[in-house]
């Protein structure tokens, strides 16, 4: 079986064409991902080093991702991050990106890059 190369946040952001709201943890190795819009689910299932794809833009997403020790949040579907969400992500040094593509497409591309 082919051994997968580690994928860093910065490289994934570039490969997926993400727009950066907060550039943090760019050198962090991505340890899997979550796709969910239910924050309580991510509080329970989120893991250190993961990337989280969601269409939620509420400031609570930063706290939830921080709690799990995730590297970055990707807001999918063309939604804009709220100003307060960006401010909190800056404070907490949480990577925060947006994309016009939907969560399915972004997750597929992340998987193709080698994130498992």
């Amino acid at each position: 079986m082919e051994r997968l190369q580690p994928v860093m946040v910065g490289r994934a952001a570039e490969a997926l064409g993400l727009t950066a709201c907060v550039e943090a943890n760019l050198d962090g190795e991505i340890a899997g991902a979550q796709v969910s819009d239910l924050l309580s689910y991510v509080m329970a299932e989120g893991r250190r080093g993961q990337v989280w794809i969601t269409i939620q833009t509420h400031p609570n997403i930063v706290a939830v991702a921080g709690l799990a020790g995730m590297h970055a949040i990707v807001i999918a579907g063309g939604f804009e991050a709220e100003a307060e969400t960006i401010a909190r992500a800056e404070e907490e040094e949480m990577g925060l990106f947006t994309s016009p593509e939907n969560a399915f497409t972004l997750a597929g591309k992340l998987y193709e890059l080698g994130v498992r």
């Binding site: 239910l38 309580s40 509080m43 939620q56 509420h58 400031p59 609570n60």
Partner: protein, 249 residues
């Protein structure tokens, strides 16, 4: 015991597509009165279109009636907006109408949306897709409810579908509300075990009744003095919160 009254701030009419056609204004109020409910809140999803009929029917029943909307914020969180007049409720209704997606209801999928008169007769159908989120954040919705003089109550905050705690993970620090509604089956002490942050909040059970049988099914009991206090909805909510939280609240 005559000095305690049950309240149920969350009951729908047949304007909500998921509600039974039997949820007419007089039927809902009669069901509430028969169950001994002293204060009832009658709402529909993202509209107060039946509020006038509910308020016109209300004087025939021995209970206090609040009317309003159950608004779905852009995050997918439901919050009740309660008023003591149909006019006040319609003020917010018009704002919310502008923020609804411009889509038509599909009655065969979601259900019919009956506009009713005070006698319970169908006078029309709301053609809009009411089962939808409006394009406003939860904070913005809560702010609007306050600005229009309403009582804001986050609805069934424990519920996975459209409940504040599952959807947003925890109560956003900036969100102001005096009352927080739990699903009918969840007692406040059990809720506080799961979510310790609720210990300092005034919790009320709401039936979220879509059928007559559900109206007032698990009322929160409050003093008759508070139930009957002649206060604007927002002040009344605050008074009720103080009672529920006790002297230390």
């Amino acid at each position: 015991m005559n000095d305690r009254l049950g309240i149920d701030l969350h009951v729908h009419t047949a304007l909500s597509p998921c509600a039974s056609a039997g949820m007419t204004p007089p039927a809902v109020l009669l069901a509430a009165e028969r169950r001994g409910v002293g204060v009832v809140g009658v709402v529909d999803h993202n509209t107060a279109g039946n509020a006038w009929a509910v308020m016109e029917a209300a004087p025939a029943f021995d209970l206090r009636v609040l009317v309003g909307l159950e608004i779905e914020s852009v995050e997918g969180v439901h919050i009740l907006a309660l008023f003591d007049s149909a006019e006040a409720a319609m003020g917010l209704d018009r704002v919310i109408a502008e923020c609804l997606p411009k889509r038509a209801n599909r009655p065969e999928v979601f259900g019919e949306q009956h506009l009713l008169d005070p006698m319970g007769e169908i006078v029309g159908e709301d053609p809009r897709l009411l089962m939808s989120a409006v394009d406003l954040s939860l904070d913005a919705v809560a702010g609007l409810i306050r600005r229009y003089g309403g009582l804001a109550v986050p609805a069934h905050i424990d519920r996975r579908a459209n409940g504040l705690l599952p959807v947003l993970g925890f109560i956003p620090p900036g969100l102001r509300a005096d009352l927080w509604e739990l699903s009918s089956h969840l007692r406040p002490d059990a809720a506080c075990e799961t979510w310790p942050e609720l210990a300092t909040r005034a919790l009320v059970n709401g039936s979220d009744a879509h059928y007559l049988e559900g109206v007032g099914c698990s009322p929160t009991r409050i003093s008759r003095d508070t139930a009957e206090a002649r206060l604007e909805p927002a002040q009344w909510g605050r008074a009720l919160a103080q009672e529920l939280l006790g002297p230390s609240g």
